[in-house]
């Protein structure tokens, strides 16, 4: 079992990630999630075992995501395969300082879903220029993970019908009219969470420019 812990060291006041130690089992309080460790191993070392772990975790979720849009099991699996292949091929674009692996895979899957199921070519924003010096930063990764976990908790505290509505908006296929009519209320509830994320992202994005 791949279990990645991070050694964090303070350099210039910033926590940095000691990467060669990716598979060590040193007891550390600061531990990034397995998923993040796997994608970093795929990105930096083309690690097939780590990729297989990501597949085991995400493939059933991606298949569920696709089938909610009404495609059959066979086509859903084809899309899952394409999405995971994109994860492998574009792994160098993943920036753990900015996003969770689930966020990044969601984005790939959603684009693919629109391209295939709606037969549209989804317009996507320009990628930000990569900063070659942008090494994974353990403190930053943990902050991203902590925010995502707070967001998850905030979502789980919603009333079931509100949660269901937002979930359908992000996972299923509500029409634009339904979204406009429905998202106002529940999105307001989680807005403070998103706003926290915004502050961090703004800071992070400015550094990238």
């Amino acid at each position: 079992m791949l279990t990645a812990y991070l050694d964090t060291t303070q350099i210039d006041g910033r926590a940095v990630l000691a990467r060669p130690n990716g598979y060590s089992s040193v007891t550390q309080t600061n531990k990034i999630s397995d998923q993040t460790a796997f994608i970093i191993a795929v990105r930096d070392n083309r690690d097939r075992a780590a990729f297989a772990q990501l597949f085991d975790h995400f493939a059933p979720r991606l298949k569920g995501f696709m089938m909610r849009s009404g495609v059959g099991s066979g086509q859903a699996e084809e899309i899952v395969q394409e999405v995971m292949l994109t994860v492998w091929r574009k792994a160098e674009q993943f920036d753990p300082n900015r996003a969770q692996v689930s966020t990044w895979i969601y984005q790939i899957a959603r684009n693919r879903k629109i391209d295939v199921i709606r037969k549209e070519n989804r317009p996507v924003p320009e990628e930000l220029a990569e900063d070659p010096a942008n090494e994974p930063d353990a403190g930053q990764i943990l902050a991203v993970e902590q925010e995502a976990s707070q967001l998850r908790q905030a979502l789980s505290r919603l009333k079931p019908d509100q949660r269901e509505m937002i979930e359908r908006a992000y996972m299923g296929d509500l029409s634009h009219q339904q979204i406009s009519a429905q998202t106002g209320v529940p999105l307001g509830t989680i807005k403070s969470r998103i706003r926290l994320g915004l502050e961090r992202l703004r800071h992070e994005l400015k550094e990238l420019r």
Binding site: G64, L85, T103, N121, V124, A169, G184
Partner: protein, 211 residues
């Protein structure tokens, strides 16, 4: 570039991030995010919501052979998908809609030109070219109109819009955008229905010009 003061509303970013925005509007929102760090941050935050649901929502068992089949594909050679870079005033998503070529302008009179990027049942998205000081024909519209300034500026009853600014006009707004002095104003505009012109002659021309 001056600071962007007119942003994409959160509801539209949420709709775009969750894949619920129609294609014409998506071109404009993707172009705005390409120019605006604040809206990019908001977009990424909304995608985090999507990622959270991906983590927690219902799963479906995958076939036994799927993983092995995929692992066999990892070393296959592949062609990277073409991505379009910004060119002059046109952000990547606009260059993609233009298929990498310069816009093919059609005259609308009084020096104003348009280049339709796509038009269909979901609405249309076009580039508009308005000479300095010139007014866009007085118009109103049935649904939402998104206008992103790519070059120059314009002002109307609601304010002044410069490069990177996006105007969100609903059907209640009967506005007359006028291009600022200086460089000609180039805008990216999307509507979900054909524009209705307020004066008679443009209205008669509407089906011909497809404006």
């Amino acid at each position: 570039m001056s600071a962007i003061t007119h942003h994409t509303p959160d509801s539209l970013i949420a709709a775009y991030a969750s894949g619920n925005l129609s294609q014409p509007y998506s071109v404009v929102v993707a172009a705005h995010i390409s120019l605006c760090l604040e809206c990019r941050a908001s977009y990424e935050a909304h995608q985090t919501v999507g990622g959270t649901f991906l983590e927690t929502s219902e799963t479906e068992l995958v076939s036994e052979g799927l993983k092995a089949g995929l692992l066999d594909l990892l070393d296959e050679p592949f062609e990277a998908q073409k991505t379009y870079q910004r060119s002059g005033a046109y952000p990547g998503p606009v260059m993609e809609a233009l298929k990498g070529k310069p816009p093919r302008w059609k005259r609308l009179g009084m020096g104003t030109r348009q280049s339709i990027l796509s038009s269909g049942p979901d609405g249309s998205v076009r580039l508009l070219y308005i000479p300095p000081g010139q007014a866009v024909p007085d118009h109103s519209h049935n649904g939402l109109e998104l206008t992103l300034v790519l070059q120059g500026s314009f002002h109307d009853e609601t304010g002044r819009f410069e490069v990177g600014d996006i105007e969100i006009a609903d059907q209640s707004l009967e506005h007359t955008p006028i291009a600022g002095m200086g460089a000609p104003c180039i805008c990216l505009a999307a509507t979900d229905t054909p524009l209705r012109f307020a004066s008679l002659i443009p209205r008669l021309l509407q089906p011909i010009l497809r404006i």
